[in-house]
Amino acid sequence: MVQKLVTHSETASQTAGPYVHIGLMPTHAGNSSTFETELGVSPILGGAKGSPIEISGQVLDATGNPMLDAVIESWQADAQGLFPGQQGADRNVKGFCRFAIDPQTERFTLKTIKPGPVALPEGGEQSPHIALWIVARGINIGLSTRVYFEDADVDQDPVLRRVQPRERLQTLKAKPLGGGAYNFDVRLQGPNETVFLDM
């Protein structure tokens, strides 16, 4: 016999289900009067420093159908690469946003500022990126990925360096469309499946 090891392992995930919007984005579900203030409506306040960008795209299932019921959350650093709460971070960058799929266009849109490279405590840095977390009916545990920018220097990024096979790298790079607009599609399964992260 040995001493009993007291541990607390993580609670299991369950799908967010089809009605996730009433809890996280009530206005999208037609329930705008649920809360006085909805959380995560925009990742930036007026006066945020940096280049304004607009990332839009589709979330596609294995059959190539756009998913209309997904909820996406984003988390990012400010233009200097500092996260909210870190010393010197831009107070007008909240960093967090929640968005859903527009039923008409079948696309999501994230309006924000381009984040800066993020310094790593062990030295080196991560290329500019925005973390995404995607939930929906049929997704049993939230899917994490990152939006990098095809027109930024991404070669030395420690996450991107680990992606195999190398062709899959392009699934993590937002494509510039000009004027600060980018396209970023998420494919849950099948050809060109997005690289999902376990970090």
Binding site: S13, V20, N31, H129
Partner: protein
């Protein structure tokens, strides 16, 4: 930000992504392996919320839809518990959001067309922040079971959806709380996407008479554990150097 790297997720403690008995998961599950790496400042930081973000009735689903004027129909319950990390430390100031069906099993969502009527006095969403020790509490009504299109005749056990933030984006978790004694749990393909039975059992909240109030409400207790951070003592240099 304090502490070391996030403790890697034990994927065996979570549902499988692809499960034939939960049909929608078949086309919505990655087929390639996830890329597993140590956490970085991106995952170790996260949004924080404060009391100024919340309204005074946000934690009271019995009354919040009508602004406190009316009470929702259903069995009145207090749902409470603690949000902890894997070191067993309470997580103060973390946002807990919940959503659920009404007492008849109907959601106030434009996509829900179930026969059971909407309750004009029930919205079905709430949120609160944990206190200094990680405790949270909601007042609500016990949700009804409801049928859903999956296999021939599948019914969801009564459940409350929970969304949790903790202190970092890498701790983000959505789960569901079930109720002690519900015979539908064992028949539920969504609960059974979790293959470790003890992990399903941890989602089942026991009746907690110690927090029930006579002539008013019953109570259920649901504790939630989020990912922890490794102790940073031995990471780079000994303490004090």
């Amino acid at each position: 930000m304090s502490g070391g790297r996030l403790i890697p997720r034990d994927r065996d403690a979570h549902p499988v992504a692809h499960d034939l008995n939960y049909k929608t998961s078949v086309t919505r599950s990655p087929s390639m392996p996830l890329l597993s790496l140590e956490s970085t400042p991106t995952e170790e930081s996260g949004p924080r919320f404060g009391h100024s973000d919340l309204g005074p009735l946000d934690h009271d689903l019995i009354r919040n839809w009508t602004g406190g004027k009316e009470n929702a129909v259903g069995e009145r319950i207090l749902v409470h518990g603690r949000v902890l990390d894997e070191q067993g430390r309470g997580l103060p100031g973390s946002l807990v959001e919940v959503w659920q069906a009404n007492a008849g099993g109907r959601y106030r969502h434009k996509m829900d067309g179930y026969l059971a009527p909407l309750d004009p006095h029930f919205g079905g969403a709430g949120r609160c922040l944990t206190d200094e020790s990680g405790q949270y509490a909601f007042m609500t009504i016990k949700p009804g079971a409801y049928p859903w299109p999956n296999r021939g005749n599948d019914w969801r056990p009564a459940h409350i959806h929970f969304s949790l933030f903790g202190a970092s984006f890498g701790q983000r978790l959505i789960t569901q709380m079930y109720f002690e004694g519900d015979p539908l749990i064992d028949r539920c393909p969504i609960a059974h996407t979790i293959k470790d039975r003890s992990q399903i059992d941890r989602l089942v909240a026991p009746l907690d008479m110690s927090r029930s109030r006579p002539l008013d409400h019953l109570a259920y207790r649901f504790d939630i554990v989020l990912r922890g951070r490794r102790q940073s003592y031995f990471e780079n240099r000994p303490e004090g150097l």
